[in-house]
């Protein structure tokens, strides 16, 4: 019995469920037949907490702690599936017996996430049983560093942290710089709001990152590894600490690993919540105890990084691919994906979509397949409007782009980017002007303030957008938005400012009409911009049930029972409570 122990399911009482299952198994004397394991994230977060039973892959969703008794007595003892907890296909309306037949998993290919939801992340033996540390053993004992680097080059792996730089090449450069001490750094900062890929890997399979870091260290002759992780990720930190202790105990970290003569150890460093810390030069400054402000490159970290020494920085997901490349071969890895983007990519699929969750798909899959097959389409039968990839540095794509095969270069070509893997789906109720304002608010907050284009320019962009959402903008403002965006992109110091206008530019390109409606007609068709909308009651639909009036926090709705109600516009704060509560669709936004 595999129980999800990721952050999402933890939040919905997954922990108590796990305890209850263990208790039931104990009480029924099944300890030898049934093992209850808390694993990493299954990815299907929408319907958590999840319990999967192997070997038949029965997949139970939204399991409550009080369901533990039934699961054990019915499934484990009598061998009968608990039907009411099975997953129901939202389109076909039929119950699905096992995970292999779920649309959510059919098109996925799990490389980086191979162990998430399969093994107990707090038990090194389970990782070892899943071919863990085998790649490391082979590299350390049988390969020369340059051959190992060649393998990574041949695999065509590109960095998953956003930049897409070829990992093998990065290692090669770092290996050629000589110094008395070099460092390997794992970037687990994950600043993109609304994304949780790296955290899930660390929570579900921490050893894979450690194994890859040792391999990386061996290749570039570095003996020290540092993992930079945000302090806001307590569960990932806890599991990582356990993993490091266990690996040391087994002699897989420390001095003379596996008798190879190679020493390597790993330390954890904590971030403190700043998006720009994810940028590699800023990250290095943060580890040195400074404010994490980026510095101009060159010098690259590979030349002068942590404490001035050559440093190789890679992302968590990049590392999670490394052991598989050595186990299955570069050729196998390179056979997956598109011409210039090999392998898979993990995405955190979220927003107005039926199956929110963590997915891993081969490069080259289309956005349509991801959103409508894996994601199960748009929530509540609404219309798809846009999908945002690349977080605050990315862009919004429309249905025109749905058939674009996803890879690094294609996404750039259509005005977005791969980024670290956030993928937010929006429907007809989302206002694109407000969405770009949301991203700009984030950038303004997170800009480190060192260079003026980013510090001042983004603030001006934010203000212009604010003006437009209030209905005070003009067509000239739209031109200004574009010009200013171009200047910020061209003149900012680091990747933050160089990409921060992307949400504005891409929405201007793809949703210009919507901007025009805001400035020319003072209208927000999505009904999001408060200053431009008004709540009204449709007399034909109103039955006078008084629910809206009773729920209005400012008492601005009046009307007798069984009579049509009215909203006093001068008092309305546009909180949406009446619309949420009305069962008769009698409240509308104009």
């Amino acid at each position: 019995m595999l129980v999800c122990g990721g952050t999402g399911c933890h939040a919905s009482a997954g922990e108590l469920l796990f305890e209850n299952l263990k208790k039931e198994v104990q009480e029924n004397d099944l300890k030898d037949e049934v093992q209850v394991v808390a694993t990493g994230c299954f990815g299907f977060c929408e319907k958590g907490p999840i319990v999967k039973i192997i070997p038949d892959n029965t997949f139970y969703v939204q399991v409550k702690p009080e369901d533990a008794k039934e699961l054990v007595s019915e499934h484990a003892i009598k061998g009968r599936k608990v039907k009411r907890l099975l997953y129901t296909d939202p389109v076909k309306k039929e119950q699905i017996q096992d995970s292999k037949h779920m649309g959510f998993y059919k098109k996925q290919l799990r490389i980086a996430l191979r162990n998430c939801g399969m093994i107990d992340p707090e038990n090194i033996d389970e990782y070892l049983a899943a071919d863990g540390y085998e790649a490391m053993g082979r590299v350390l004992l049988e390969m020369k560093p340059e051959d190992a680097i060649q393998e990574v080059l041949d695999a065509g792996l590109r960095g998953r942290g956003g930049g897409g730089f070829p990992t093998g090449l990065k290692w090669q450069i770092a290996s050629k710089n000589h110094a008395d001490q070099k460092y390997v750094v794992c970037n687990a900062d994950e600043g993109d709001p609304g994304a949780f890929m790296d955290r899930s890997i660390l929570e579900g399979d921490p050893h894979t990152v450690l194994e890859a870091m040792v391999i990386n260290g061996f290749c570039i002759n570095a003996t020290k590894g540092l993992i930079y992780i945000r302090a806001e990720y307590p569960l990932a930190i806890k599991r990582l600490k356990i993993a490091i202790d266990q690996a040391r105990e087994y002699g897989l970290l420390g001095k003379d690993i596996l008798g190879s003569g190679f020493d390597f150890d790993v330390e954890i460093r904590y971030g403190a919540g700043a998006f720009v810390c994810g940028e590699e030069t800023a990250l290095i400054h943060s580890m040195e105890g400074e404010r994490c402000e980026p510095t101009f490159k060159p010098p690259f970290p590979a030349q002068s990084g942590y404490l001035g020494k050559p440093t190789n920085v890679n992302n968590v997901e990049t590392y999670a691919n490394i052991p598989v490349i050595f186990n299955k071969g570069a050729k196998w890895f390179a056979s997956i994906g598109t011409e210039k983007s090999k392998g898979t990519k993990v995405f955190a699929l979220a927003g107005k979509i039926n199956n929110v969750g963590l997915i891993e798909v081969p490069m080259g899959i289309t956005l349509r397949e991801v959103i409508f097959e894996i994601g199960g389409g748009i929530q509540g039968g609404k219309k798809f409007k846009a999908v945002q990839t690349g977080g605050p540095s990315g862009g919004c794509l429309t249905d025109e782009h749905l058939d674009t095969p996803i890879d690094f270069d294609n996404l750039l070509a259509v005005g977005s980017m791969m980024g670290s893997g956030g993928m937010i789906v929006m429907d007809e109720d989302d206002c694109m002007v407000a969405v770009s304002q949301f991203y700009l608010e984030f950038t303004v907050e997170e800009s480190c303030g060192k260079c003026s284009p980013c510090r001042i320019g983004n603030k001006r962009l934010y203000e212009l957008l604010g003006k437009i959402t209030k209905g005070q903008g003009t067509e000239d403002d739209l031109d200004n938005l574009r010009n200013l965006s171009d200047v910020i992109k061209d003149s900012s110091l680091c990747g933050l400012g160089q990409t921060s206008p992307n949400p504005v530019l891409s929405t201007l390109d793809n949703f210009y009409e919507e901007y025009l409606a805001h400035v020319n007609e003072q209208k927000c068709f999505a009904g999001q911009c408060k200053e431009l909308i008004r709540y009204e009651i449709i007399p034909e639909n109103c039955v006078g049930c008084t629910v809206c009036a009773r729920n209005c926090p400012v008492n601005c709705i009046s009307g007798e029972r069984k009579q049509v109600h009215t909203i006093d516009q001068s008092l309305c704060i546009k909180c949406n409570a009446c619309m949420e509560k009305c069962k008769f669709n009698a409240v509308t936004i104009i």
């Binding site: 990721g6 952050t7 999402g8 933890h10 939040a11 919905s12 977060c45 929408e46 319907k47 958590g48 600043g191 993109d192 709001p193 609304g194 994304a195 949780f196 955290r199 945000r230 302090a231 806001e232 990720y233 460093r269 904590y270 971030g271 403190a272 919540g273 700043a274 998006f275 943060s286 040195e288 105890g289 400074e290 404010r291 994490c292 955190a348 979220a350 927003g351 107005k352 929110v356 969750g357 945002q388 977080g391 956030g422 937010i424 929006m426 989302d430 969405v435 949301f438 991203y439 984030f442 907050e445 480190c448 729920n551 926090p553 704060i573 909180c575 949406n576 409570a577 949420e580 509560k581």
Partner: protein
């Protein structure tokens, strides 16, 4: 910063000094020391920053610079029930801004501040990793998922009787 000096508990200050020592009083460990300091005091007022600066032999200005740079560090005490509203993108598109407005309206405090009775404080954070439950609100360690504007009242009610 406050003009009245806070009196820190001697035992807490002692504990902080030991933390600094365990990091060899290295200036490079500033962020790690600040993390521990925030665990001890709950927040990082100027007086705590002065102790840290002294122990690591760096200027108070530098400590202040680091504390104000990172959003995880706070110079204001949190409420007994710190409320954090996720304003990550996934929560935003599922209506986190409306939920936030409702908290602000009911508690009558802006983001980053604490109610007069010291009971609740409001902060925003970016993605708690439970996007499947969006919009997400945390009160202390407890997570609430799929919060609606009128769910806000219910959440606050849970803490009504507790003093």
């Amino acid at each position: 910063m406050t003009s009245v000096k806070l009196k820190l508990k001697d035992s807490d200050v002692q504990q902080l000094k030991e933390v600094a020592k365990s990091f060899n009083n290295q200036p490079g460990e500033l962020i790690n020391v600040l993390h521990k300091a925030q665990e001890i005091f709950g927040y990082l007022p100027a007086e705590v920053q002065e102790v840290v600066a002294n122990e690591l032999n760096v200027s108070v200005a530098k400590v202040y610079g680091v504390v104000t740079f990172y959003s995880f560090f706070t110079m204001l005490p949190k409420g007994r029930y710190p409320i954090s509203i996720c304003t990550g993108t996934a929560c935003y598109v599922r209506g986190a801004d409306k939920v936030l407005d409702e908290f602000k309206r009911l508690l009558k405090v802006p983001v980053g501040e604490t109610t007069e009775d010291g009971k609740f404080s409001i902060t925003c954070l970016r993605c708690v990793g439970a996007c499947g439950l969006a919009p997400v609100v945390m009160v202390g360690d407890k997570t609430y998922g799929r919060v609606t504007t009128d769910g806000v009242k219910e959440i606050l009610k849970e803490y009504e009787d507790e003093v």
